[in-house]
C-alpha cells in the first residue's frame, strides 16, 4: 500500500478516461464561448475568451498531463474543427501553449484543498498561456511584414495592441472565468469526482515525473519550426537575395521567389517522405517485437 501511494500512477484506461472527460467538457465550453457575443468598448474588449476553469479544475484534480492534452485537443476538435474554423498549423501553436500552461498549473498544486495553491495555480496557468500567445502573435507580424523596423509606428503599435490584450485577458477572463470558478469548483469536486472514475483522490504525498512534459517532440518541433522561419526570413533579407538580384536584376527583377518556393516544396516533399519512412520503420519494429 505504501509503495502505491508514493507515485501517482494511472492505468491505461484511467488515463484515457481523464483524457476523454477533459476533451469533451472543455470542447463543449469552447463551443459555448465561441457562440457568446463579445462586448467591445473601444479598445477594451470584454469577451469571454475561454472557460479556463474547466481544464484548470481537471488538471488540479486528476493527472495534469492527460487532462491538459485532452483539453487542448477538445478545443481543436469541438471549438475549431466542428465549427469549420480549423486553422491548420496555427492550431499547433495553440495546442502546445495551452497544454503547457495547464500542465504547469496542474503540477503547481500539491494539495487541492488549499485555496491559496489553487488560486496561484489558476492565475499562473492563464498568465503563461496568454504570454505565449501574445508573443506568438507579435512574432507573426514580425515575420509576416518585410522590413518590419522600417515601417514607422508599426513596432510600437503591435507591442501596444498585444500588451493591452494580454492584460485585458488576464485581468478580465483570468479572474472572472478562471480564478473564481476554479476556487468554487475544486473544493466541491475534490473527493467526489475521482471515485466515479475508479481512482483515489490526489493528496499532497503524490509526485509526478516531470520528465513526461507535454510531448518533448512537440516542443522540439515547434522550436525547430520557429528557427526555420527566422532563418528563411533572414535569407530573404540578406545577401542571398541580393546576389540573385545582382545577376538578373535587369531581366527578371526580384528572383528570390523561386528559391523560397522551391525550398518550401522540397521541405514539404521531404516531410512526406520522412513520415512515410518513419512509419514503415515503426511498422517493421513493431512487427519484430
Amino acid at each position: 500500500m505504501s509503495i502505491r501511494k508514493e507515485r501517482y500512477t494511472l492505468t491505461q484506461s484511467q488515463k484515457m478516461m481523464v483524457f476523454i472527460l477533459s476533451m469533451s467538457l472543455y470542447g463543449l465550453s469552447n463551443m459555448i464561448t465561441e457562440l457568446v457575443p463579445e462586448f467591445q468598448f473601444g479598445p477594451i474588449e470584454l469577451s469571454i475568451e475561454y472557460f479556463a476553469f474547466i481544464p484548470l479544475t481537471l488538471c488540479i484534480l486528476f493527472h495534469p498531463l492527460y487532462a491538459a492534452i485532452g483539453a487542448s485537443l477538445g478545443e481543436i476538435i469541438f471549438g475549431e474543427l466542428m465549427l469549420g474554423q480549423f486553422g491548420g498549423f496555427g492550431e499547433l501553436e495553440k495546442f502546445i501553449a495551452f497544454s503547457l500552461a495547464m500542465y504547469i498549473a496542474g503540477i503547481l498544486v500539491r494539495n487541492p484543498k488549499s485555496k491559496g495553491q489553487v488560486g496561484v495555480a489558476a492565475m499562473t496557468g492563464v498568465i503563461i498561456h496568454q504570454a505565449i500567445s501574445a508573443m506568438v502573435d507579435m512574432m507573426k507580424v514580425w515575420v509576416g511584414v518585410e522590413e518590419f523596423e522600417a515601417v514607422p509606428g508599426l513596432a510600437e503599435s503591435v507591442l501596444a495592441v498585444e500588451g493591452f490584450s494580454f492584460l485585458n485577458d488576464v485581468l478580465f477572463s483570468g479572474i472572472l472565468f478562471a480564478l473564481l470558478p476554479t476556487l468554487y469548483l475544486v473544493p466541491r469536486l475534490y473527493g467526489k469526482i475521482e471515485p466515479l472514475l475508479g481512482m483515489k483522490p490526489r493528496d499532497n504525498k503524490m509526485s509526478y515525473s516531470i520528465g513526461a512534459i507535454v510531448g518533448p517532440r512537440l516542443v522540439a518541433g515547434g522550436i525547430v519550426l520557429a528557427i526555420a522561419a527566422f532563418f528563411f526570413e533572414y535569407l530573404s533579407e540578406s545577401g542571398f537575395n541580393w546576389e540573385w538580384e545582382a545577376d538578373f536584376l535587369a531581366m527578371f527583377g526580384d528572383n528570390f521567389i523561386w528559391v523560397s518556393i522551391a525550398v518550401a516544396a522540397i521541405t514539404a516533399l521531404f516531410t512526406v517522405i520522412w513520415m512515410r519512412k518513419r512509419k514503415n520503420d515503426q511498422g517493421q519494429q513493431e512487427r519484430v517485437s
Binding site: 469533451s24 459555448i32 474554423q85 480549423f86 469548483l185 514539404a268
Partner: protein, 272 residues
C-alpha cells in the same frame, strides 16, 4: 421584426445542432471532398507555409485568387467566410489605427495589406481543406500519417457526442433558470442580466462535470470490451482499417494543376 425572428431561429439549440452536422457532413460531393486526405495534407503543407515567406504582392494575389475559386467550389458555408473576413479586417484595421496613433503615416497601409493578404491565403487554404473532409475521412487521414489512434478516436467521439452534450448542458442551464431568481432590475447596459447569465453558465458545469465523468468511464469500458486499445497499437489492424485509402488519378491531376498554376503565377510575376 422578421430579421429578429430569423436571428433567434438561428440561435436556438436545435438549429445549432443541425448547423454543426451540416458543416461536418453537408458537402461530401464537392470536387475536393473526393480527393484522398493525404493529397489534401500535402497541398495544405505547401499553401499553409509558403505565404509567410513570399513578399511579392502579385504572387500573393495569384494565390489568393486560386483560394477564392477553390472556396467557391468547396461550397464553404457563407457564415464561416463572413466570420473569417470580419476577423481579418478587424485585426488589420485595429493595427492600422494604433500605428497611425504612434506616428505612422500612409506607408503603414501597404505592409499591413500584404500581411492581411498572406493571412487570408493561409486561412482560406485551411478552410478549403478541412471543410471538405468528413470527420471519418479526416480521422482516417490522420491515422494514416501516423497520428496516434486516440486522436482519431476523439474526433469521431466528438462528433457523435456533441449534440447530446449540448442538449444536456442546455437542460441543466434551463433548470437553473427555472429554479433561480432572475435579477429584477436590468442595471446599466444590462450588466446585472449579463452577470446572472455568466454565473449560471459556469454553475451549470458542476452537474455536467459529474455526469460526464460517469459517461467517460462507460465509454472507456466499452472501448476495452471492443478491444480498441489493441487496435491503436498494432499495425496490422491499422492496415486493415485504412485499406480503402488510395491515391487515384484525380489526386495526381489536382496536385499537378496546383504546381502548374503556381509556376505560371511566378512566371507572370518575373516577366512583368
Amino acid at each position: 421584426m422578421e430579421y429578429t425572428r430569423k436571428f433567434t431561429d438561428k440561435l436556438s439549440v436545435e438549429q445549432m445542432k443541425i448547423e454543426l452536422l451540416n458543416t461536418a457532413y453537408g458537402n461530401g460531393d464537392t470536387l475536393l471532398a473526393k480527393l484522398d486526405p493525404r493529397t489534401l495534407f500535402i497541398w495544405y503543407l505547401f499553401f499553409g507555409i509558403t505565404p509567410w515567406f513570399i513578399h511579392q504582392e502579385p504572387i500573393l494575389i495569384g494565390m489568393f485568387a486560386f483560394m477564392v475559386v477553390l472556396t467557391y467550389f468547396a461550397k464553404v458555408s457563407p457564415l464561416i467566410v463572413f466570420i473569417l473576413c470580419m476577423g481579418l479586417l478587424g485585426q488589420g484595421g485595429y493595427l492600422l489605427i494604433v500605428s497611425l496613433f504612434f506616428g505612422g503615416d500612409a506607408a503603414v497601409i501597404l505592409p499591413l495589406l500584404t500581411l492581411t493578404l498572406k493571412l487570408s491565403v493561409i486561412s482560406l487554404a485551411s478552410i478549403v481543406v478541412f471543410c471538405s473532409m468528413t470527420p471519418e475521412k479526416l480521422s482516417d487521414g490522420l491515422l494514416k500519417i501516423g497520428v496516434p489512434g486516440q486522436v482519431s478516436f476523439s474526433i469521431a467521439y466528438g462528433y457523435r457526442m456533441l449534440p447530446t452534450l449540448l442538449e444536456e448542458y442546455h437542460h441543466v442551464f434551463l433548470s437553473f433558470r427555472l429554479r433561480g431568481k432572475a435579477p429584477s432590475k436590468r442595471g446599466f447596459l444590462y450588466w446585472r442580466a449579463i452577470v446572472y447569465f455568466c454565473k449560471i453558465a459556469i454553475l451549470s458545469f458542476y452537474p455536467l462535470l459529474l455526469s460526464m465523468t460517469k459517461r467517460a468511464r462507460t465509454t472507456v469500458e466499452a472501448l476495452e470490451t471492443k478491444g480498441s486499445f489493441y487496435g491503436f497499437n498494432h499495425p496490422q489492424v491499422k492496415k486493415l482499417k485504412l485499406a480503402h485509402l488510395k491515391l487515384r488519378k484525380r489526386d495526381v491531376y489536382f496536385l499537378t494543376f496546383s504546381v502548374v498554376y503556381m509556376v505560371a503565377v511566378c512566371l507572370v510575376e518575373i516577366l512583368l
